[in-house]
């Protein structure tokens, strides 16, 4: 017997506004809405609704809304409705619970417990509309050795760098987990913005080779789609050791999403589940990692920076120290709120640590060991606004990765049902009729708008602090103060409490 579960959300139709145009019915891949020809009225089956808001957004008479159901079991602070329902679901199915996108649990968000400084009287603020303000940055090794040629001139010993016009890049999202059109939108936006998007572990579709100058290609534990042209068509190569949403486990792309095109790009058979192992089977130490870093550098003639991406975990600082010594140029850290196309619910919700704490500890450790210049630091895992970017940079990051925010710009409404493959917004799906709903001509402009808006806001916030470049803000933790934090949190974040002066 399957236990009946009352729908978590209910579709509410304002009958006085519904014109029975059936747009909601045509746009719902979950078949929530239906039209009764006899009565001429629409009805909705809330049990099928994932709360993606596609119908709400497209309804021409704004007759629809979705509300949280008020059906409840007897109120219990320990056994809340969701916890009980999850037990019922597992008793029904016997399976691991799957979820998508980032950790939704009410853990503290440290970005929201940090406040930014501003200049008053003694150090004037800068007006970014009237004075130069630099948000362009470079990622890569800063350390150089002084060498001279036979004529005594300085040799250029600077390692390859990535030049970003804004300190924001698009996170790794694979073709397969997201659609062709979503990838095209990200690639075109990265090109126009002068920044980078990341292929994720799904290989690079041949159509996107032309965006190579703005592409970071990923080499993950499954090595999907990795070959000579893939590496050569990239601006940088990222070795994915872990992902914030699911630290310690690999990936699983269901066979239904391995269409002909995805199969060719990933170089795996069509219709067969793509499983990337939890570890890289050739990496069990920093020395092993170093071998892969240098294999990739050797393969690309030392022309491209190599990034190593890890999930934010308890000993991230020590791991980062090892990575900095492995020859990697850039370390990317992904916090536990980072998104995913599919993850076991328990892992998404309970494994890893906040990116803010990991960043503070990694930056401090690299500074203490005198190797901060060996690498650039990129952080992701729920960077939600330009304020988060400013705080991350002041904490010590060189740049941020945004994934969820980018998908929101493309239409995602965070229904967290990516793993079902029926994304009504044409993002996390391979169904052709759904993929076409995301027109990249519109999508890339929305991405460009978003990042451009953030760039303006970053300039304004920096101006207020009297700082005129991202380079000067980086690691400037005196610009941050904590609010509502304990002594331990302040110590880990390396910031003072609001009200404490310089």
């Amino acid at each position: 017997m399957n236990m009946y579960l009352y729908p978590e959300y209910e579709v509410v139709r304002d009958e006085s506004r519904c014109i029975s145009c059936r747009v909601c019915e045509r746009q719902c891949a979950n078949l929530v809405h239906s039209f009764d020809a006899e009565t001429g009225k629409m009805s909705a089956d809330s049990a099928k609704c994932v709360n993606c808001h596609r119908c709400v957004c497209l309804c021409p008479s704004h007759a629809l809304k979705i509300v949280k159901s008020d059906d409840t079991y007897k109120v219990n602070a320990n056994w809340d409705n969701q916890t009980i329902n999850e037990v019922y679901k597992q008793a029904n199915s016997g399976g691991v619970l799957l979820s998508s996108m980032g950790n939704p649990k009410p853990y503290p968000v440290y970005w929201d417990k940090m406040l930014v400084n501003a200049s008053q009287v003694t150090n004037p603020p800068i007006d970014p509309l009237r004075e130069p303000m630099e948000t362009q940055i470079y990622l890569g090794k800063r350390s150089v050795t002084i060498e001279r040629d036979e004529r005594g001139k300085l040799k250029d010993t600077l390692a390859p760098q990535l030049k970003l016009r804004v300190p924001v890049m698009f996170s790794a999202m694979s073709y397969g987990s997201i659609s062709y059109n979503a990838h095209e939108a990200l690639a075109r936006a990265a090109e126009e913005l002068g920044t980078f998007y990341n292929t994720g572990e799904g290989g690079l579709h041949k159509d996107f080779y032309r965006y190579g100058k703005n592409t970071i290609v990923q080499v993950a534990s499954g090595r999907f789609g990795v070959f000579k042209d893939y590496l050569e068509n990239a601006a940088a190569i990222e070795i994915k050791m872990g992902q914030g949403a699911k630290p310690g486990i690999g990936g699983h792309l269901p066979g239904a999403k391995i269409t002909a095109d995805v199969s060719e790009t990933r170089m795996i058979p069509q219709g067969v589940d793509a499983i990337s192992p939890a570890p890289h089977h050739d990496i069990y130490s920093i020395e092993d990692l170093r071998q892969l870093v240098y294999s990739l550098k050797e393969a690309t003639e030392y022309k491209k920076p190599v990034i190593v991406k890890i999930a934010a975990v308890h000993n991230a600082a020590a791991i980062a120290s090892g990575i900095a010594r492995s020859g990697a140029d850039i370390i990317a850290i992904d916090g536990y709120r980072g998104g995913t196309g599919a993850a076991p619910t328990r892992i998404r919700d309970h494994v890893g640590i906040p990116i803010e704490l990991a960043l503070a500890q990694v930056d401090q450790r690299l500074r203490d060991e005198g190797i901060r210049d060996e690498v650039s630091l990129v952080v992701g895992g729920s960077v939600r606004s330009s304020a988060d970017v400013v705080k991350a940079i002041a904490m010590g990051a060189d740049a941020c990765y945004i994934g969820t925010a980018a998908l929101l710009a493309l239409g995602c409404h965070l229904c967290r049902s990516c793993h079902e493959g029926k994304c009504n917004w044409g993002i996390a799906t391979q169904r052709p009729d759904l993929v076409k709903r995301l027109n990249p001509d519109l999508g890339y402009k929305r991405l460009v708008n978003l990042v451009t808006a953030w760039d303006h806001e970053i300039r304004e916030m920096m101006g207020g602090m009297g700082i005129n470049s991202v380079e000067a803000l980086r690691g400037n933790r005196l610009m941050l103060r904590g609010i509502g934090l304990t002594d331990a949190e302040l110590r880990i974040l390396g910031i003072r409490y609001a009200g404490e002066s310089m």
């Binding site: 519904c18 014109i19 145009c21 497209l58 021409p60 076409k436 519109l442």
Partner: protein, 145 residues
């Protein structure tokens, strides 16, 4: 001249254009008041079949068959290139409906005249309402040689 073009690659078959067209023609400001409980008479139609869908409305042909065939001189090409119909002159013979190769002229709701897309020059929208409300940019209004 600027015309309405459709790109079937991006058409979702949502039929929003039809309702927005019918709404524009009513001249009302509230879509609920305009369309609720009433038959809908759009001048644009979504055609569907075999996984392809696209909307069709008047192409505003350079040498329109509808204008040539009109027995009462109700149909004409304006100086702006827009093919218009004069309801006062139309006798409702519907020859234009029969000759239009795109099926873009249709009988008006009262049955006494024909009606067609006039690029929203005959209402207060200012620009084609179907284009304005297409959620996926499948319908565009642009100059193409």
């Amino acid at each position: 001249m600027k015309r309405v073009y459709v790109n079937e690659k991006w058409c979702l078959g949502c039929h929003l254009c039809e309702y927005e067209c019918a709404f524009a023609a009513t001249g009302l400001s509230d879509i609920v008041k305009a369309l609720k409980g009433k038959p809908v008479y759009p001048r644009i139609r979504v055609e569907e079949g075999d996984g392809v869908c696209f909307s069709v409305n008047c192409r505003h042909c350079r040498e329109p068959l509808c204008v040539q065939s009109c027995i009462s001189g109700a149909l004409s090409v304006g100086g702006d290139g827009v093919v218009r119909i004069d309801r006062e002159k139309c006798v409702g013979c519907l020859t234009c409906v029969l000759v239009c190769p795109y099926g873009a002229v249709m009988p008006a709701p009262d049955g006494h005249a024909a009606m067609k897309c006039q690029l929203c020059t005959d209402n207060a929208c200012g620009e084609p309402n179907c284009v304005k409300h297409c959620p996926n940019n499948a319908i565009v209004y642009e100059e193409r040689g």
